[in-house]
Amino acid sequence: MNRSDFLEIAGRQFSSRLLVGTGKYESLEVMAQAVAASGTELVTVAVRLVDFDDRARDLTSHLPDDLMLLPNTAGAKTAEDAVRVARLARAGGLPDWIKLEVIPDPRNLLPDPVGTLEAAETLVADGFTVLPYMFPDPLLARRLEEVGCATVMPLAAPIGSGRGLKLRESIAIMIEEARVPVVVDAGLGAPSDAAAAMELGADAVLVNTAIARAGDPVAMAEGFRLAVEAGRRGFLAGVMEPQLAEPSSPLTGLVGAS
């Protein structure tokens, strides 16, 4: 990848445009190997109460120190819940970056746009760098930008569904209009989905289930890394416009004509 082609979020540069979630792996060892194979520099973590009867090793001990942790507010059903989790995480020493999720709907796991906007406004005012998970609504994206969010993170399809870039047209409008990085988050199932999102002009993608639940998560992590790089190069190179059939070989000097 072009050395100068960095993903920049809130003034911080990343050479990888793949963000990876750490959930749903069969073990933390496999998770750590997949994270390494993905080349990511930014991984999401959830915040949960400690079970003092369980002496399992800490998640972070499996991850290299130079990897940035991005706490999420998964589990928050309201803006208040989300703000509480973010403040708890920051006070305890996690970064003041937060992947904001306000999800009241357990069936489709769709984010609440009003609650997300409210929480974003509160958290930005409180000094957080806010990366909101959202339905790909271009006007909501604009509102989230206006309150100071560092990115907008539209879902491609419902969380964990692996259904691919189902909301492509809405995401395309967001990309066209966004002034902050667009990170396509949730629902990507295969590396080709990630490549398609990047070709469309997304600044990055966030992948969890598609890697964690693959037959070979470590190999799939590498697949996503390559797909994100391929899609990004395609976008930068300028993908041709679809057109009618046009031969790729000369129409003159045909052997059969002589």
Partner: protein, 67 residues
């Protein structure tokens, strides 16, 4: 002896037990103990200064695997 709750469970406090001492007594390991006391987050820098009191409701969380 005074009692507080930690993650919903009763905890017998030592005299002038701090948040840092609580984490030690509970055997917490790992770099990120995320602590809330009576609904307010406690800054990590204050763990060895904040003394827990009778009836305090303490939550201790940590980062876990998640998307």
């Amino acid at each position: 002896m005074s009692v507080c709750t930690v993650n919903g469970r009763e905890h017998q406090l030592e005299e002038r037990e701090t948040v840092a001492r609580l984490l030690e007594r509970l055997g917490f390991t790992g770099p990120y103990a995320l602590v809330e006391r009576n609904g307010e987050p406690v800054d990590r820098a204050d763990y060895s200064r904040v003394v827990l009191e009778l009836g305090d409701k303490v939550l201790v969380a940590r980062p876990v695997a998640g998307g």
